[in-house]
Symmetry: C2
Subunit: 211 residues, 2 copies
């Protein structure tokens, strides 16, 4: 109910808790932080603190009522608030995101996809028709989309970003391997595959029996 200072790291873990809780709610009417930590391979103290900061409806001895905890997490994460978004770049990755329906659990609705290439605009992507960039402004205004998703190649990312910002978008989910320049009020979240790959490669070269 209350929501104390939730660190960004905690915020990132909340969706994991929510996903797990939903998957077990039918057979687990009540759950303790310790059980949840066990299931997710995390520390029990960390989970307790994370849950405490967004719910606080845990009962000593009993733990949390699963259903209640799910509601508190959904409330905090705004899962029931519809978040309209536009996507630029209807290549493989863009199409993958469009056809992934797990996002609706978190309130995200990709209202339209755009592509700078005239060859791509007009084609189908999932159940949507890809629109030309000239329609971006109108769609953003009509839908109220404040979130933009960039799935174009690196070379076109800054351009796509600038267009989004000029259409009033204030949060950008960037899948292109580039650093974007934005005004201070715009938040960019980089989905950086190369970074993850670096972590994995390092592990392999250090621990893996090479080849």
């Amino acid at each position: 109910m209350k929501a104390k200072n939730v660190s960004i790291q905690t915020l990132r873990r909340l969706p994991l808790y929510l996903h797990y809780l939903k998957s077990v709610k039918s057979e687990t009417p009540t759950i303790s932080a310790t059980m949840l930590a066990e299931a997710l391979g995390a520390g029990d103290v960390q989970v307790r603190k994370d849950l405490g900061s967004v719910s606080g409806n845990g009962r000593p001895k009993k733990g949390y009522v699963t259903e209640e905890l799910i509601v508190d997490l959904e409330d905090y994460l705004g899962c029931n608030d519809r978040t309209p978004a536009v996507l630029i770049g209807a290549g493989n990755l863009g199409r993958a995101l469009l056809s992934y329906n797990g996002f609706s659990d978190y309130g995200l609705e990709i209202v339209a996809a755009f592509d700078a290439s005239d060859a791509v605009a007009g084609t189908k992507a999932g159940d949507k028709t890809v629109l030309p960039m000239s329609k971006l402004k109108k769609v953003c205004e009509d839908s109220g989309a404040k979130l933009g998703i960039i799935t174009v190649p690196a070379a076109g990312a800054q351009d796509a970003c600038d267009k989004l910002v000029s259409c009033g978008v204030t949060a950008i989910w960037n899948f292109a391997p580039t650093v974007l320049k934005v005004p201070p009020e715009v938040l960019v979240e980089n989905e950086n595959l190369a970074s993850s790959l670096a972590v994995l490669s390092k592990h392999l070269s250090e621990n893996g029996a090479a080849r």
Copy 2:
């Protein structure tokens, strides 16, 4: 040349530096940490420390020779060491990763794609034919793949993971929204889209003019 204690956060930033340096190396023969920080929107001290920990070939007043720094970063990140990998789950996302050729810059080579569904196995994904799971063991052995990429739906992720581990894989790149159970020697890197989305949504609900 030397490689001091590189924090995991630093490790994640190195690919960004490398990518940027490659894009400007022709017109920028020499570059300072300050310039690099400016270009990437990071702090100059942070960049200096990051570079210092993997290169240390910077010269006062001059900065780094771009070409040399690229080589040092590539060496540290193992970009020239071929890292064979197998991918399980030839859906939209799996196909997107298969057809993305930016990974080769970091030495990653996806040697084969697999799918549990008989309907999918045998179809083409990019320039590769999707193989049935029964071939996984042999491909891992022949290719020496120690890295597994999971792009199946959440329900099948643990199963895919177990199979990979039993084939000797010691690093797993997980795109499924689930927490995987693995033996301690196996490293899992979760590409967690829901976490990123949570950060973006929070920003919107706090700062964005609602709707």
